[in-house]
């Protein structure tokens, strides 16, 4: 009998105020955290909108040394990990350290620090042969993403299998899938799994400008991200972290843990087509959904809610709608499909985990969060996108999906604790 993996603790640092309950309240009320960027002066940029965290590392309990050695992305992850541990009630001090593992999803590493320190050593881009006299002691940790897993391991005392999962914008789902695989095969009993990213800084904003993938609704940032809406004009960059305590089911039961949900199925595919482009047919995302359902031994018509990738770009939302129809058939028309990116933006490698947090909480609280800013129907996107207002519903099976540069497509299926025999 294969082991089963359940989520017993959730920590979130999302745009707006940090903390799981602040995050949940915001998305259920349909409030948007998208605004004119404040992390730097966005005036010279094509898109000047971001979904930013109102985050003070000291107020969130980080020590001075933790702050000194970490990037904003690492700080988010430490805070989210500690909230998840507290939420789960697990006493990590009594667990075998080598039975605790870490998997942190991430897209662009310690991007802000990497860029800030570059400016110093290069004298703001003047020198190709950068000046090592201006390097900071933790510079190597900024160029590698793996330091993010190190921080979560140190914050929790984990000594089991530890890594960063870095499959671009699917990393937040893939890191959870990786953790579940490790629990099922017996490599760990407890996984600190989740994701973090803090990409709102000039180089990443420039990238999305150049690709013309980000929204230019600079005069109306609160309504800039409009997933599935006919007038959508691109994504809005976000930032943040969500981290989970994921446990082997019997381990959770032995300590009487509260179970949010089981991670019942997970799968990834790649479109093998283009680094940024999507074919409209949604084939590989559909294949990922089908494979995740197969792993969970759940029929498509058992899905109660699809938590969408819904980035708000023209090509994604059409591609994703097609993927639901391919994989779920007529049932795709019968279920609510909503995108919280309308409110928290697209935090690249992190968003998959933030969306899993929303999905787990939707099961726990019996509420489907809405798609904010959805007003006008696109004939190519003709599903029920839960416009504006949250809905109460008993949710037994929730699907969450992701899609990203490099062609990555991932899907995860969460089930209510009611379904655990």
């Amino acid at each position: 009998m294969t082991a089963r993996a359940v989520i017993t603790g959730i920590g979130v640092v999302a745009p707006g105020q940090p903390g799981r309950e602040n995050f949940w309240e915001m998305v259920v009320k349909g409030r948007t955290a998208t605004r004119r960027i404040t992390l730097f002066d966005p005036a010279p940029f094509r898109s000047r909108i971001g979904a930013e965290c109102d985050f003070d590392p000291e107020q969130n309990g980080l020590t001075y040394q933790e702050i000194a050695r970490t990037d904003r992305a690492g700080q988010f992850a430490i805070v989210a990990a500690r909230e998840a541990v507290a939420d789960s009630g697990i006493d990590l001090g009594t667990e075998e350290p080598h039975r605790i593992g870490v998997s942190v999803g991430n897209g662009v590493g310690n991007a802000i620090s990497m860029e800030q320190e570059y400016r110093k050593v290069s004298d703001n881009g003047r020198q190709w042969l950068v000046d090592q006299g201006y390097m900071v002691p933790h510079l190597y940790s900024y160029v590698m993403s793996s330091s993010l897993a190190t921080e979560v391991a140190w914050a929790t005392g984990a000594e089991g299998p530890t890594t960063v999962v870095s499959s671009g914008c699917c990393a937040g789902i893939d890191a959870v899938g990786y953790a579940v695989d490790l629990i099922r095969e017996g490599s760990a009993e407890v996984m600190m799994a989740g994701a973090t990213d803090a990409p709102i800084y000039p180089i990443t904003v420039s990238c999305f400008d150049t690709l013309r993938a980000s929204s230019t609704s600079n005069d109306d940032p609160e309504h800039a991200c409009r997933p599935f809406d006919l007038r959508r004009n691109g994504l809005v960059l976000g930032e943040g972290s969500a981290v989970f305590v994921i446990e082997e089911l019997e381990h959770a039961r032995r300590r009487g843990a509260r179970i949010y949900c089981e991670v019942a199925g997970y799968s990834a595919r790649a479109n093998g087509y283009h680094m940024t482009g999507l074919r409209p047919d949604g084939r590989e995302m559909g294949e990922a959904i089908t494979a995740a359902l197969d792993e969970a031994r759940i029929n498509p018509d058992e899905i109660d809610y699809a938590n969408a990738h819904g980035s708000g770009t023209r090509q994604n939302d059409r591609h994703e709608t097609a993927a639901y129809k391919r994989s779920l058939g007529e049932h795709a028309y019968r279920i609510p499909v909503s995108s919280i990116k309308s409110m928290v933006g697209h935090s690249l490698g992190s968003i998959g985990s933030i969306e899993i947090a929303a999905s787990a909480l939707s099961i726990d609280r019996g509420t489907v969060p809405p798609t904010a800013n959805y007003e006008e129907r696109d004939p190519e996107c003709d599903l029920d996108y839960v416009p504006g207002t949250a809905r109460e519903a008993d949710l037994d099976v929730v699907l969450s999906v992701g899609s990203g540069f490099g062609g990555f497509q991932s899907a995860v299926v969460l089930t209510s604790p009611r379904r655990i025999r």
Partner: protein, 84 residues
């Protein structure tokens, strides 16, 4: 610079993705869609980014969507340089 010639664009194109495996682009290809001469959507964005820099232009998204061939690029750039 007040106008762009085919040779100017060719130079930019080759900086963006290099000589296309021995096949030289000629004026006969002017109206051929980019996709048919081996330039994908990213390559066109890269060309646009270089044009913006070298010709001090701001190319709006709608114009990019219409830049489907070398000729369309040259026509757009020249029309907008003339307007400045």
């Amino acid at each position: 610079m007040s106008s762009i010639s085919f040779d100017d664009l060719k130079a930019i194109m080759s900086r963006c993705i290099g000589e296309l495996d021995g096949k030289e682009i000629t004026e006969a290809d002017l109206a051929t869609p980019f996709t048919d001469i081996g330039y994908d959507s990213l390559a066109v964005l890269e060309i646009a980014s270089q044009l913006q820099r070298e010709y001090s232009l701001q190319i709006p998204d709608e114009a990019i969507e219409e830049m489907d061939s070398p000729k369309a690029v040259i026509d757009y750039v020249n029309a907008n340089l003339a307007a400045v």
